[in-house]
């Protein structure tokens, strides 16, 4: 990792955006968006995660190997989530027991 030191300005900007996003996600929660409430909430959370990872965790300056490892987390998480939900959410469809 080449030593890239970000400016105080950058960190402050990211911090303020994170606080603003917290306010937005809380306010939007009271608006009736139906099923999209979850989508919006997760979208904002994902943006916050990216900001923290890229700036605060220096992911922008990390080596490719480290970036790959971090991205790998989502692959494994996706497999666990997708396969389990594919089972649970489709149990009623083919008339099997257990739901």
């Amino acid at each position: 990792m080449s030593e890239n030191i970000d400016s105080v300005k950058t960190y402050t900007a990211v911090w303020l955006i994170l606080l603003a996003l917290t306010g937005i996600t809380t306010a939007v929660a009271y608006v009736d968006l139906g099923a999209f409430s979850v989508v919006i909430a997760l979208l904002i959370a994902a943006i916050k995660m990216l900001l923290v990872a890229l700036f605060f965790m220096h992911m922008r300056h990390s080596t490719r190997l480290t970036q790959l490892a971090a991205a790998g987390a989502f692959l494994w998480l996706f497999i666990m989530m997708a396969f389990t939900l594919a089972d649970v959410w489709t149990r009623g469809l083919v008339g099997t027991q257990g739901r």
Partner: protein, 223 residues
Amino acid sequence: MAEQAHTPVETLALREQFDTAEQQKESSTFGMWVFLVTEVMFFGGMFLAYTVYRNTYPVVFGMASTSLNALIGALNTAVLLCSSFTMVMAVRAAQLGRRKVLIWFLILTLLLGLVFLGVKAYEWNEKFVEHHVPGMHFHFEGAAEQGPAQLFFSLYFAMTGLHALHMVVGAGILSWLLYHALRGRFTAEYMTPVDIAGLYWHFVDIIWVFLFPLLYLIDRHMR
């Protein structure tokens, strides 16, 4: 007299299995990230359980979720994000070799972390008062089925509890950093522990960034 053997100065606490200080630092960073990947899976299992049961009992989970105090949750999220900011400023101070600044930002981060835990304790206490703690005295008013409501609060306590446990560990790590920073152990050339601890602290922050909307917010609009 016997000539003084010229031993190279042990710079940057470079271990023998590494060629350069930079390689050593990269290995540490990479190791921490791999650990964090395992943590993603650890918490991922709980998020998955929450998703499955929320999907199975949407109505009761919605009622239980809206009984949480969203304002306190939002404020606590802000506290945690502020602590992430002070942590990254501490790492920056360490990178620049500014010992005093490092110490102050570590203290601030630790304090904010403790504030978060204090608020969490207040919220948990509220649950005890309201009989929303799973167990013999559990009672959730308005829910026809108490079972699914208990399930929500079981998951609530497991998820926020596990997160709080990570915060307690984080506070311990910060105290350790503070002790060594006060003794002047970190320099611009060697500040890997500060850097690595920062990664952990931000990760715990990210977990909360997902816990907050999923536990507190997503069913608000139905009220």
